[in-house]
Symmetry: C2
DNA sequence: TACCGTTATATTTTAGAATATATAACGAAA
DNA sequence: TTTCGTTATATATTCTAAAATATAACGGTA
């Protein structure tokens, strides 16, 4: 059996939600990983890294996200500056002008984040069901 | 004994976090309540409602939050427009120029949100401990 | 009636973020 | 050596969200 969490939601008071259409109410949230209290890894970097992995280029990844190259580069730079080893390996020059790949650690972190988010979704679903009684 | 949650975090791969100083890494997030997919209630409204309750005035509450009255009024207006019954009862005129109070439902919602956030904090703590192994 | 501080609303101004634009450097291949 | 598309970086411009400012209305009280 899977381990369980200690935290549990007590029933909310019966009339708490009367003043809102219950089926339209849901708990939701955002989730990220911090380093030294600074946001380090979240949904934005996840998507960007995936697209870099897919396209082999920061440039093309940014375009697919409708994001300026500068902003994308900033995200990459922050990731690489924070991690002890670069998460995105960039190259300039060459017949294709260069390109970028993501490290194995970056791939593992993406998977980890996905699993973490899935557990968070489970949490949210439980809370939402409880709200709707 | 308190009820338990079904979701559980599997151990993360042993070398996933090697490339970051472990004690500096933490899971964190933001949490809110949606109505029809729109953010309805979160940390901002919570603090504002508390200060309105405390000061009896949207104006003074906004000042204590270093927030413009316009923005504070927008939050109040959104809350009142979404809920079937107003969460903030406003009055104009009178010897003190008017003022605002919050409904019992608003107070109950604040308490509910606090408890929800506490459970979320528990979730985050568990995940953070697991990251740090 | 005059006064008060608030709610309510519109308009103007400011500040910051995002984008757009420009340019240099890079290096493999033809 | 020239060509290519990319990385890397700086600067300029545009957009947008926030704040600042202004003003009317309100209604108890003196």
């Amino acid at each position: 059996m899977s381990p369980t969490r200690k935290t549990a939601a007590p029933p909310s008071s019966p009339d708490l939600w009367e003043f809102l259409p219950l089926t339209e109410v849901a708990a939701n949230g955002s989730l990220w990983i911090e380093h030294q209290g600074q946001r380090f890894f979240g949904p934005g970097p996840v998507q960007l890294l995936e697209l870099i992995d897919e396209t082999g280029s920061i440039n093309q990844a940014a375009k697919k996200m409708d994001m300026s190259y500068k902003k994308a580069w900033g995200i990459v730079n922050n990731l690489n500056a924070t991690a002890l080893r670069p998460m995105v390996i960039t190259a300039t020059g060459g017949q294709k002008g260069g390109g970028s790949t993501i490290s194995a650690e970056a791939k593992a972190l993406i998977i980890y984040y996905r699993e973490l988010r899935a557990r968070f979704n489970q949490f949210l679903e439980t809370e939402t069901i409880r709200i709707r009684k």
